[in-house]
């Protein structure tokens, strides 16, 4: 059986959906970060697959930049997370309600 682009796209979508579940479900900020990594990776798979099946390197380029962004996001995000933890002793999302309207 031939594996086509659609297979990859469906896989990417499933991964993305898992990531969304994580984003909505997780209350622990650290684990929320994990979920965002999943989202980014899901998209990367789609990019790579499209790049492959259309013989165009642009998709790979995008995946490449996504990885770079993910890395910097982690660096800054973790820093913030540590500061927050030092100050509040908790990284639970439900405790973060200073923006209540």
């Amino acid at each position: 059986m031939e594996i086509g682009l659609n297979h990859y796209l469906v896989l990417s979508t499933i991964l993305f959906a898992i990531g969304l579940v994580g984003v909505m479900r997780r209350k622990n900020l650290l684990l929320l970060f994990f979920a965002t990594e999943i989202l980014l990776n899901a998209v990367n798979v789609a990019f790579a697959a499209i790049s492959h099946y259309y013989g165009d390197l642009t998709g790979q380029m995008f995946a490449f930049f996504v990885i770079a962004i993910a890395a910097s996001e982690v660096a800054v995000g973790l820093g913030l997370l540590i500061v927050w933890y030092k100050r509040n002793g908790s990284i639970d999302l439900d405790a973060l309600t200073t923006m209540k309207g």
Binding site: L20, K27, L31, A49
Partner: protein, 188 residues
Amino acid sequence: MFEAVAFYLFAFLTIAMFFIVVTTSQALYALTALAAGMIFISAFFFILGADFLGAVQIIVYTGAVMALYAFGMMFFDTTREVKEKQGNKYIIVGLSTLAAILVVVIFAAPMMSENIVALYPAIDGVGNTQAVGLVLFTKYLIPFELAAIMLLVAMVAGIVLAGKKMDLSITLMHEAEIEEEKNKKVLS
């Protein structure tokens, strides 16, 4: 045939790993599962012929990002089970599924019409890494440099944020408290 077997195998593994990441209540399990998932993702890149991307995936994600997370987790209490108050599960699952279906529909539509033309076609006769290099340092040079600067900024930001005294907010403190902090520093 080999390709199909590999795809399904890794697809199953990735989904399983990521599923564990979003469901487990042990932060350590989640971290491990995420690292495993990242490696499995790189497998797809190799299958798709994007060797360089696969390598980068392993190095950056599994190497750097995961290491960062691991270090980060040292600051927190990770042995304890993560307790999370859960809302309505149906909403979460329903929304995710709906989003997934819609994305598939959207992606499938232009694929079916087959009207996409390659902007930067893969170059014959050269390896993937070389081809990536060619495109990256010609057409995407400026974004590439910007990404490099961004990484630098992020690194500096990470160091500064996690550094000493960042748990204090001078703007929120009174003059007296700031003085007190200064004195402490002198004493130590």
